[in-house]
């Protein structure tokens, strides 16, 4: 299964509750995390996601490391495969 399919099948609620129908895992995330997940489902790459976050949120500083850390969490929970870097379009 591709990471795109897996991400598309995640159940995301507006409150930040995430359900993975493949593994039964549930997570909660904040508004920023939710925005990243939605962007990933749309197939956006890392730089486009950063642009979107800057548009939607009042953010300063380096978003790269925050996104790297978030992707690490997604890999750790099996939401994306171990080799996922989020750079694909």
């Amino acid at each position: 299964m591709s990471s795109a399919t897996h991400l598309k099948d995640l159940a995301l609620s507006d409150t930040g509750f995430v359900f993975d129908p493949y593994t039964g895992a549930t997570f909660t995330t904040n508004a920023t995390g939710l925005a990243i997940l939605q962007a990933l489902r749309e197939g956006l790459g890392r730089s486009a996601i950063i642009d979107r976050l800057r548009e939607r949120f009042d953010v300063h500083g380096d978003l790269e490391s925050d996104i790297t850390e978030f992707y690490q969490l997604l890999r750790q929970h099996g939401v994306v495969p171990p080799n996922f870097t989020g750079t694909e379009k």
Binding site: A11, F19, P21, A25, T26
Partner: protein
């Protein structure tokens, strides 16, 4: 004159923190067709399901099958003579061999069952999982059967530590070394006797499937579940339906390889690479089977239909993300019911 309702007998009315599946099966049948007359078959006067008056009107105690097939059969015949049983759904591992032996007699009385054959039943035994894995293509952890401490002391060459030491029917203790394994071995032997099954531990997450086979290699339906909360005995207290095509493929492989007839529970571990490893097959519905009805795929009702030779019309889909969360409640019961169960072993309300 109204039509006689279908009479379905269901065993396994224990509903403690390690519940038997009977109450869940009854609830699923009630959901599908409230007109069904349920006949509960218990083993103890305090089986909680006996007192679930909204679920079951008639209850009879059975002698344990270990007391002999004659007594067991005679009691079933008695229940049939009193009420007439159309279909019987056994739900306990330990009684299944007796039902397999009695199947021709039950059939002769017109009582329908949905049981695996003796060969199918044997193939899924814990000690034969490797054989089942080879036949079905399902991954199985290294597993062996041991009968003596000498065998146990050598088994790590083929079944590396850490390993689970299991009884043939129930219980699993994790052993990190021979000392742990020896202790667990004696505990299992004291409780269940030999043989003892040892199985290398697979690290990962546990998933379960409840599945129904048509006896010809077909999968009538299956629901995948991930446990969300465990009791101190490791039993699921809460769970959620999941759908991973690879998980449901295991159920299909099992049915194709064994031509399993009837219900079963398939227990699997999912490793970090996403591969499923078969840990155990239970030859009956699990205690959490009501989740299948709750998620829209009522497998107990489908089993009753199949037993009657009908084609179940339950669809194949279920709602992913449906949860079960168990609850302990104090039922208020009548002393009359209790005294009837203690003295005559039966109650009709």
């Amino acid at each position: 004159m109204s039509e006689r309702p279908l009479h379905v007998a269901v065993t396994g009315l224990n509903a403690t923190d390690n519940p038997a599946p009977g109450v869940a099966v009854i609830r699923a049948l009630r959901d599908a067709d409230p007109s069904i007359r349920i006949i509960g078959l218990g083993y103890d006067a305090l089986d909680p399901g006996i007192y679930a008056t909204d679920l079951v009107r008639d209850v009879f105690l059975l002698p344990y099958p270990s007391q002999g097939l004659t007594a067991f059969w005679s009691r079933l015949e008695y229940v049939h003579s009193k009420l007439g049983i159309d279909v019987i759904i056994p739900t306990l591992d330990a009684e299944l061999p007796a039902f397999l032996d009695l199947e021709p007699k039950l059939r002769a009385l017109g009582i329908k069952t949905l049981l695996p054959t003796r060969e199918q039943f044997t193939l899924r035994e814990k000690g034969r999982l490797a054989q089942l894995g080879a036949k079905s293509g399902i991954r199985v952890p290294a597993t062996a059967v041991v009968n003596t401490i000498e065998e146990l002391s050598r088994v790590h060459f083929s079944v590396p530590y850490p390993m689970y030491v299991k009884g043939l029917y129930y219980g699993a203790t994790l052993a990190m070394n021979l000392e742990d394994a020896t202790h667990a071995f004696y505990k299992v032997v004291a409780q269940w006797g030999i043989p003892v099954v040892v199985q290398t531990q697979i690290l990962g997450e546990e998933f379960n499937i409840v599945a129904l086979g048509d006896g010809e290699g077909g999968l009538v339906g299956a629901v995948g579940m991930k446990k969300l909360m465990l009791t101190d005995k490791g039993k699921g207290w809460a769970g959620i339906t999941v759908r991973d095509p690879a998980l449901l493929e295991v159920a299909q492989q099992f049915m194709s390889a064994t031509k399993w007839r009837g219900p079963c529970e398939i227990e699997l571990m999912r490793d970090k690479l996403g591969h499923y490893h078969l840990i155990e097959i239970n030859p009956r519905f699990p205690a959490w089977v009501y989740l299948s009805a709750g998620a829209g795929l009522n497998l107990p009702y489908a089993a009753v239909e199949l037993a009657q030779g009908k084609q179940p019309n339950i669809g194949t889909d279920y709602k992913v993300g449906t949860l079960f969360v168990r609850i302990s409640i104090d039922q208020i019961a009548s002393i009359t019911d209790f005294q009837n169960m203690v003295t005559t072993g039966e109650v009709s309300r």
